[in-house]
Symmetry: C3
Amino acid sequence: MPGRILSSREGSLSTVTVANPGKLNAVDLGMWQQLEATMLALSADDAVRCIVVRGEGDEAFAAGGDLEEFLTARDTVDKAMHYHGCVGRALKAIGDCPHPTIALIRGPCIGGGLEIAGQCDLRLAGESAKFGAPINRIGFSMYPEEMAGLLRLAGPAVVLEILLEGRILSAAEALQKGLLTRVLPDEQLADEVAAAARRICDGAPLVARWHKQWARRLQDSTPLTEAELRASFAFLDSADYKEGLAAFLEKRKPVFRGC
Amino acid sequence: MPGRILSSREGSLSTVTVANPGKLNAVDLGMWQQLEATMLALSADDAVRCIVVRGEGDEAFAAGGDLEEFLTARDTVDKAMHYHGCVGRALKAIGDCPHPTIALIRGPCIGGGLEIAGQCDLRLAGESAKFGAPINRIGFSMYPEEMAGLLRLAGPAVVLEILLEGRILSAAEALQKGLLTRVLPDEQLADEVAAAARRICDGAPLVARWHKQWARRLQDSTPLTEAELRASFAFLDSADYKEGLAAFLEKRKPVFRGC
Amino acid sequence: MPGRILSSREGSLSTVTVANPGKLNAVDLGMWQQLEATMLALSADDAVRCIVVRGEGDEAFAAGGDLEEFLTARDTVDKAMHYHGCVGRALKAIGDCPHPTIALIRGPCIGGGLEIAGQCDLRLAGESAKFGAPINRIGFSMYPEEMAGLLRLAGPAVVLEILLEGRILSAAEALQKGLLTRVLPDEQLADEVAAAARRICDGAPLVARWHKQWARRLQDSTPLTEAELRASFAFLDSADYKEGLAAFLEKRKPVFRGC
């Protein structure tokens, strides 16, 4: 069975599954392309409030790229530019997604898998999860645009530690180094991801998108214009702000409609 | 009793207290304006060597903004620009203060409270302290210029975790995520803040101000000029440097006079 | 016996030792100059795959600068510019070294010692190690270009905590604050540094250098050009990449030759 990206939906919660059975969900070129398409489609769907990204089964998040494929699909500079262009577009589609994203991580989260998790907003991992990119033992370097995403997440000291030693980190180490949001006992991971998704889906969806938009905008050092600052009060005209304030003052749970 | 900002002084140590009794020290518009004025006055006073910022009483640091006030004082874009202009100037007055600042944090440190703590140089919290900005449940987004301060402190992954989930973090979690300097058992918090303030007040006050000045200057990526680098040796002409070197070589405690 | 920088070699692993007996390896002007020369020589030697930087003996990494020397070698702005120019060039020679560097840290790692460790790629410390720069008690400020290196490593909150309080941090605190890569029981430190060096030396040396080069390049916010991105596939033409892929597919240990 070839590798593929699955997408499912339960109410406003979508789940994107990286599936490559028998290969620890290693991501091949076709899967990178499907991942981009899947994320772009979900990004355009305003009914989505949260996306969980996970590996198929309980064994692995994603164990890197498909090395055998490298022999034919990434053996010249032109093919490598095409291959990593596809990887970069998939990662960008996750990072630019307007909806909150949660990586649910069990087992190996290696190389391309780590890059996927690094583009999600939250990274919740089970204690058995493993992190790294031991490509110093295979003889190739990480594509700079992919390294850039990890540098933004965890800084140069952590990224160079991982790449220079090629060591595999435990979930506890990855948490301590800023690569993860939370670590849980494996048997509690699904429940905590569900709880986090519920907290997100119960919040005002426009607020989540604005927060992601401003956090991204502020990574750029250009000062905010007066027009941008005024635009940040778009919530004043939303039905959800009226509902939120009313519910707060009436001490009841708000019901947000995303408008 | 209306909310207000109190300021007291013991030797070279000032204490600024956020006080809004019965409202967990929630900060209203008048208090933001008083906070700016208080910090500007202390900044201009060279006899100050350290400022502790705290909430009145033992119950709370500051539990966010005053939501009831939002109904009238922040209900149009123009009024919101004025309101958050005041918040921004108060936060800037803390961040730009030349003297070292320590946030002493007990109980809720939420929304505007978290933004105040995030502008201090050190953040010492008791184990019972709670952190967050659960505004996704009220339907409004954080003002981008306020988010910028938290991004500088803790980075996008932590800030988005807090804003997207709207979850309240324990002091231990906040420490692990880089939001805090130290966490202490509640009953030891006041003593440790006093000890930190003493360490600061016993040091050379000009050195503290220079360190704050250079740390701020280096956030700007413009290279330092030759003139700036030469100016960084201003200590060579200070009486305190002569005293410090002499005390070190004579193995005695130095007495600094701030000149 | 005057302070000096020692250099030794075992295969592809070099060790640089900061030695100032009886002075806890405090670094004086001559040692900064030797440190620069030593690092430049090793940087130019392609047979080197990893450099361990340490203090002589088991007592200290390096306990800051030599304060007595300041009375004569750093007593005017011109002499101070010369002195800190030498410090800056030594630190830059470590930070710019193309080969991976590991600081092995026991005992005091203070002031200039902390600056040296902060320029290494990995920082492994024994539990007894101590960190800080208590110069607020001596009356001088850290040279801005030296502060810049610590800001890149640990951010403004951690650097200002250290400089404003002048407190000495334990290894556990330094780890929690992002100043260290790993902390080990003192008696296991040498073994773990040897294991980390072995992991690095067993990897492809060109890959290590490329990873360091791209991590440094990406600190600059100028977008990567098409030519730079194509150059990042230089590994495709290396013998080591062919060896790495072959060894992976044949499930054997690769032998890299650095070409």
